[in-house]
Symmetry: C2
Subunit: 451 residues, 2 copies
């Protein structure tokens, strides 16, 4: 007797088979694309010592973390993949070669308040390049090309990678003598699109007590826009006031210069001086990626350059640059926006073999042959009416059924039915395999995301 | 200043990049092979409500489970993939088509006492076929073919899938009037290989108070051996004494009959009446898989037929058959036995492009072209001496380096060096891509396991 009501916790994504196959395709695409750029896969434990995970400490993280004891051990579930990477690199420092390029696709845990589209268990898909002591700026130019290649491989076209450099912002505020307030100014500037220039100015002057002249200087700086070349040209006018600012302009120019060589089209890339990405961690180039037709989603792939990955674990300067895709949320949002390809082959099998004789040997041999050809094949063994068998294939959207009755067996043939066209043909097993393989190849051409 | 010593918890596998790539290859092989048999991938949360996970309750599980509270919720980490499958099928019963064939490769957690080769976080790789009400016996014949295909795809050859049927054991003990003691007898019989027939007999008679005649009957039954046909022929002699026993003999005969059609060679399969696989859960065919040259490892892939997957969650009869590979332990053991292919390409990239000019554009364009051809390519941007750059390629065992100096650029060519042969040639980018692709394809022919 059933005694416990089955349920899945709120905030935990659990997909039915068809969407799960879409998710698997996305992960497969990420693995392949990340590997193409020389990133090696890593897998670290979901559980770490709480002391290790919380080395940096700090507010929100500590509140949201899943922390518990087992025996004498104070344990916690990882809340991102960056802290485990820092631990990994510090722990295995002597065994790694630098620059160390790794990708990791794994589940992380945050006990946030449950709400629509927010997950407590979610996949992150991260890449990072870690240098030992130094890391050349050109690595920061390569990152947008990984984003571009990944997103186009998934099927996205209308997206924009927005790039800025924290040194430009920090240097500019320093040139105004506002270093101390740079955090507050960035937070205010962040609201520009939402509340407008007039209101931003008001906050700067009234709340942050910034002089009117400086406030206007900030506003004209934030207003710099246009093509990448135009923005870079405008920035040249700010040269010579602050060393950090000059360095930031150089870096941004380098990143922009190499983009075309890395294969990133102009229309998928924008220098945007309003991008700031948080406050402490990032020190150079920062990235955000938005879907042009869905700005309300916010950034779907973000990251940047940092100077010291593992300072809590090792006395080595380990600068790096990385990006992260919040995969579970992205998948959820794509579903909401009807952007997941409904025509994708999400059947558990390419072919369903239906034995029509009491002796199953011929049908099993046929299935074995199809499988040897790489065709995902199911055999239907259950004693059901023919209609029920066909309805099974229909419900699962299995593209081909293969019948094997006495007549077919006598002729050394089988009957293949294409369930989309309804066309049925009696052919040899080799012809059947060729037919199904060609059909499946055509069916699998589509990408997982459609715009 | 580093303040926390970086460490990974004991009992948690964390691999360096090269072995991680071997592990990834194993998982990729499992995904592909499982899919070939029409199993669809599933992914369920690592955290479930403790009440749901512990619905069945019971000793060892309850002691080993990672259980904790977050807010008001009593939570636990899954300790296998079977209970989450039961929950999933019960919860989504109305949305699934049966027979439901799924695979899942995921981490599970057991807070066992730490010891060599035992893991607290480990991957299981499971397949199951779940029927609604009924499930045909032929499904039980298909399972060994999945094991065979999976293991040979990984590179194993000297393994044996041992099969028995619980109905034969239960029926035979019932025919002796020993149903009540069948559990104790099976546990004793299990020691046959280790302690010998004489000692088994002693335990049966002295400890279990079984009459001498019956003890001898049990011993002669356990002694049945030979080819599959010989064992099945010997079993015919036991027909007519007990209905369950007869049914078990029929089932075992059916499973054996279809093996060749499913492509399983005789030498990889053995009917073995000593296999019992625990006590309660399994009700029909049971499987164990052993490596012939490493019997000390025990079974590396086990499972069987069960009658009621989700009885705690739903009032539906859901019989099934499944197997599980303890992937983390298997990987560990293969490493210990030096059975992982050391010649496998475990480099993070197939080619390392070394720019030899100040302007990086030509090198970046070349790398972009190689990537477009599917070649995993890294660019080395760091300002290091030539020797340091080559040592980076060497250490990571990157098979090809590609140099691009002024001369090559002027000629529209590049210099490709095969690091295994030391041969260097100056060729066009297209020729370079062709060369590298052919070399990599040859290099990737090998399987991940060698015997």
């Amino acid at each position: 007797m059933a005694s416990i009501k089955p349920r899945t916790l709120s905030g935990f994504m659990e997909l039915l088979p068809a969407p799960q196959l879409q998710m698997e395709r996305i992960m497969e695409t990420l693995r392949t694309t990340y590997a193409l750029y020389g990133f090696t896969p890593l897998d670290t434990p979901a559980i770490e010592s709480a002391e290790v995970l919380l080395a940096k400490g700090g507010g929100e993280t500590e509140k949201q973390i899943y922390r518990f004891t087992k025996g004498d051990s104070d344990l916690a579930l990882r809340f991102d993949l960056t802290v485990p990477l820092a631990k990994y690199v510090a722990l295995h420092y002597g065994e790694l070669s630098f620059p160390f390029r790794r990708y990791q696709i794994g589940k992380v845990y945050r006990g946030e308040r449950a709400q629509r589209g927010r997950f407590r268990e979610f996949y992150q898909a991260d890449i990072d390049i870690i240098g030992d002591g130094k890391l050349d700026i050109v690595n920061e130019a390569e990152i947008p090309s990984v984003i571009y290649k990944t997103f186009t491989a998934l099927g996205l076209r209308r997206f924009q990678i927005r790039v800025n450099n924290r040194k430009i912002l920090n240097g500019f505020y320093a040139s105004l003598g506002l270093s101390e307030q740079s955090g507050d100014i960035m937070r205010t500037a962040d609201k520009l699109e939402k509340i407008g220039a007039e209101n931003v100015r008001k906050i700067l002057v009234e709340d942050l007590a910034i002089g009117e002249e400086k406030a206007d200087a900030i506003l004209s700086f934030m207003a710099i826009s246009g093509t990448n070349d135009q923005v870079l040209a405008a920035l040249e006018g700010y040269r010579g006031q602050n060393e950090t600012l000059d360095q930031g302009i150089d870096e941004l120019a380098t990143v922009t210069k190499y983009l075309a060589d890395f294969g990133v089209p102009q229309e998928n890339f924008a220098v945007d001086l309003t991008i700031a990405r948080g406050l402490d961690y990032y020190t150079g180039t920062v990235y955000e990626t938005t879907l042009l037709d869905h700005p309300e989603i916010g950034s779907v792939c973000s990251g940047g350059r940092y100077d010291n990955l593992a300072e809590y674990y090792i006395d080595k300067q380990l600068p790096g640059v990385g990006i992260s895709i919040g995969l579970t949320r992205l998948f959820y949002v794509l579903g909401e926006q009807h952007m997941l390809n409904g025509d994708m082959n999400t059947a558990p099998a390419d072919a369903l073999v239906l034995p029509m004789t009491a002796d199953l040997s011929p049908a099993i041999r046929l299935a074995t042959e199809l499988r040897a050809q790489g065709i995902r094949t199911q055999l239907y063994f259950e004693q059901k009416k023919f209609k029920a068998k066909m309805s099974y294939a229909d419900k699962l959207a299995i593209p081909y059924t293969v019948f094997l009755g006495e007549d077919e067996i006598a002729q050394g043939k089988c009957s293949v039915k294409d369930l989309r066209t309804g066309v049925q043909e009696t052919v040899t097993p080799e012809e059947a395999a060729g037919k199904i393989k060609a059909g499946i190849e055509a069916l699998n051409q589509g990408k997982v995301i459609v715009e």
